[in-house]
Amino acid sequence: MKLTVWTYEGPPHVGAMRVATAMRGLHYVLHAPQGDTYADLLFTMIERRDHRPPVSYTTFQARDLGSDTATLFKTSCQDAVERFDPQAIIVGASCTAELIQDDPAGLAETMGLSIPVIPLELPSYQRKENFGADETFYQIVKHLARPQDRTARVTCNILGPTALGFRHRDDVEELTGLLSDLGVNVNVVAPLGATPDDISRLPAAHFNVLLSPETGETAARWLEKNHDQPHTKIVPIGVGATRDFIAEVGDIIQKPLLIDESRLRMPWWSRSVDSTYLTGKRVFLFGDGTHVAAHARIARDEMGFEVVGIGCYNREMARPIRALAKDYGVEALITDDYLEVEAAIEALSPEMILGTQMERHIGKRLGIPCAVISAPVHVQDYPARYSPQVGFEGANVIFDTLIHPLVMGLEEHLLTMFRDDFEFHDAAGPSHHGGHSPLMDQDASGGSFSAKMKDEPLPDNVVWLSDAERELKKIPFFVRGKARRNTETFALEKGLQEISLNTLYEAKAHYAR
């Protein structure tokens, strides 16, 4: 048993729903109690989908448990096939139905349906959403892909984009364009937008582009093994990664590839002098493994930030993220416990967080700007505008995303110089964010786990003298937390009992870079 406040991932059947909802002509019959229908709103509200997810829930109740939940499942199956006329169905159980052991797979098999029935075994008490999506897509591919000749022209499939994915809609479009510029046509995109018939045509492509390893890797490996289709290992998020990806595609199709980079603005935006203020900004990264790995490279090599912490919530990516962290000289944080992430961020006091909607919340509480780079995300992270992450346009979009939460370069100086101006004071936050005001020590709920942890008194009774404390308040909000922490650490190291004005400035000199 583990106490959880917020979760990064839903249960595995929600992963299966992400695949089913992404596809067309597929239906998911889910043995589940009525409350589980909440999952529809993830798609209709958060992602603003205009169709119900293609899911039939059996919605069994307590009174059904003694009698015949198996018949209920079969009726739901029959009704779904008649009503929605799918090309194939996937069947499975949610956490509660797993406990009553009705065996949806076996039941569906005995029904003699004329369409393929793909059973899912998704252990709800061990695994999570990304596993559910990856496993579901793999089962669908394994059941439906047929041996066939390769297309005459060089083609590839794009594997991994799902419903509720982070920018998958636009990534597919950008990637398709990029591949087309490279002379490679896309055979099938799956699961997003694919029908079961399309899945059967996957082996016609010459290779696979793995856009989302979290949700497509098992299928990609299976296709490599059974249909001799190599797949790309680099996800083209960022300037360097996109160039490497192009080289990787060139290796696969054994052709040197040249590409027009005229649409790529990011490198100049980053080199231009206004971006100088980005240099060495201390950033903390947390999210799914793929996006964190890509953004670590962008942060360090393309934005000039200093990466002070790296982590991911999906254990499946623990190994590569640990290796990456080592490369960056930091400790990897592999956890799905939101409170642990919050504690790590507080301890590191970064100047910026690249994270998920959870880290945005943490950043709001701690007064640290946050850019969202990974699922899970909120309704405002499904933008109407075109905003891919992959390819050259993706790199442009990411540059904008990463600088938007920050105070602009000259503004930083002005805030320091005129901090008492009644309109232009630091508590007002970045001037391009209307109504924004970081709340360092307030919490609308009147209490929280983390607030408890934060209020712990300083060890060894270090006291801030009033002149030092007044001076601290003059330091702009976006560096105040770091200044406080640095000074306290410095005082502790020096064995000081009191922090005076001098201590503050000695610490500043000590940490100057």
């Binding site: 229908t37 529809d40 069994f60 909120h378």
Partner: protein, 427 residues
């Protein structure tokens, strides 16, 4: 006298009810935690459940808010499923850790879920044990918010019902008002009752554990929410008597509700008029303005919160709408009867759900406004129907006179929006 006139064509109390069983597109009772944990400021809600439960709470709440919560989920893992003795030890450990970190917590609710019910973790026993361990500082109660037993707002019902047996005894003649209301609405209601000279008035749920809510054979109680069937039964078991009334939505519902209470407490007609005349006039004026877009329009209710019948009464009688179908997850005559009496005959009354069949009826009827859950709203909008998400009706202050106009506004906004947007491509 301003008693509401029953409809000339007869009401709906004896109308045939279409009872359906099929796929139900509703939340489970855990959802109630989203507003209950804000209402009871010293309470923590600990769901004993699965990752799905945690995800539901996050998603149901996350659509609207993302704040630090006073609720959490003790997620069952593979090892907990193996042996039940372990599950109790684990629960004790998690509760001890939680209470240590949160000394401000005075009431802890252990909330049962689908998995905890199916594997039969005895949370009543756990609550008893933990109460002994953590008394007197913390009181531990339990209820089920599981989706195999409860629908959406029934979670609040189960929570309040779990509190009834531990309420102090009283022999005083008191009015107990039952149902979680937004604080601002509760204050308005208390002031109206005070002006009427009705009292003492106690509240369930109280904002804090130390408040003096008690119950006994001289207690009379009024419900402010139409989904409190179990709480109603539990209070009657304690000897309290229910004041049956339409629910306090709109001018007419609020007046009828207050009048039932006033009659019970012998308030004079003159006092009643003096107290209610001004807010009634304001409510009527506000409704008239806000309901302009609703007059002559049709409305279709999918079952969601059990608020459907009182709201259909409000929309048909005070906003000039016609109800096509009024679906409710459950219909409880003692609670919904007074509103059904006033709802003009005509609409199909339905209980339970088979969502695809009901969607087919809605598509055939093409109502001007469809009241439905979050999972259905955007898909129906995409089909050209205007919708109002039902969950907003539970989260927004809508009761009593001063909110009557806002309530009408919640329904008219989707229609007004449709009329102001000029987004269709030229022919």
């Amino acid at each position: 006298m301003n008693a509401p006139m029953p409809p000339t064509n007869g009401g709906c109390r004896n109308a045939p009810v279409l009872k359906e069983r099929g796929q139900r597109e509703v939340f489970c009772g855990l959802t109630g935690i989203i507003w209950l944990h804000r209402k009871m400021q010293d309470a923590f809600f600990l769901v004993v459940g699965s990752r799905t439960c945690a995800h539901l709470l996050q998603s149901a709440a996350g659509v609207m808010i993302f704040a630090e919560p006073r609720f959490g989920t003790a997620i069952l893992e593979e090892s907990d499923l193996a042996g039940l003795a372990d599950a109790h030890d684990e629960l004790d450990r998690e509760v001890a850790r939680l209470l240590e970190r949160r000394p401000d917590i005075r009431q802890l609710f252990l909330v049962g879920s689908c998995p905890s019910e199916v594997i039969k973790i005895d949370l009543a026993r756990a609550a008893e044990r933990l109460s002994q361990v953590h008394a007197p500082h913390v009181r531990v109660l339990n209820y089920s918010g599981s989706g195999i037993e409860t629908t959406f707002t029934q979670g609040e019902d189960a929570c309040l019902a779990s509190m009834v047996p531990v309420l102090k005894d009283t022999t005083a003649r008191e009015l107990l008002v039952v149902g979680a209301l937004p604080d601002v609405v509760e204050d308005q209601m208390m002031s109206l009752l005070d002006d009427l000279g009705v009292g003492p008035v106690r509240l369930l749920p109280a904002r804090r554990i130390d408040e003096t809510t008690a119950v006994g054979s001289n207690t009379v109680f009024a419900l402010t929410q139409p989904f409190l069937g179990d709480t109603h039964a539990a209070l009657e078991r304690r000897g309290a008597r229910h004041i049956a009334a339409p629910f306090p939505f709109g001018d007419e519902g609020t007046t009828a509700w207050l009048r039932a209470v006033a009659t019970e407490f012998g308030v004079s007609e003159a006092t009643f008029e003096a107290v209610t005349a001004a807010p009634r006039a304001r409510a009527r004026k506000a409704i008239t303005q806000a309901s302009e877009a609703l007059r002559g329009k049709s409305v279709f209710f999918f079952p969601d919160s059990q608020l459907e019948i009182p709201l259909a009464r409000f929309l048909t009688r005070e906003c000039g709408m016609t109800a096509v179908e009024v679906g409710s997850p459950y219909i409880h005559d003692a609670l919904h009867g007074p509103d059904l009496d006033l709802l003009p005959a005509g609409p199909q009354i339905s209980e339970g759900q088979d969502v695809d069949k009901q969607l087919a009826r809605a598509r055939a009827a093409r109502p001007d406004l469809t009241v439905c859950g979050l999972g259905l709203a955007n898909p129906l909008e995409a089909e050209g129907l205007s919708t109002k998400w039902a969950i907003e009706l539970v989260f927004t202050p809508v009761h009593f006179y001063e909110q009557a106009g806002d309530l009408a506004g919640l329904f008219s906004r989707p229609l007004r929006r449709k009329s102001v947007l000029q987004l269709e491509a030229a022919e």
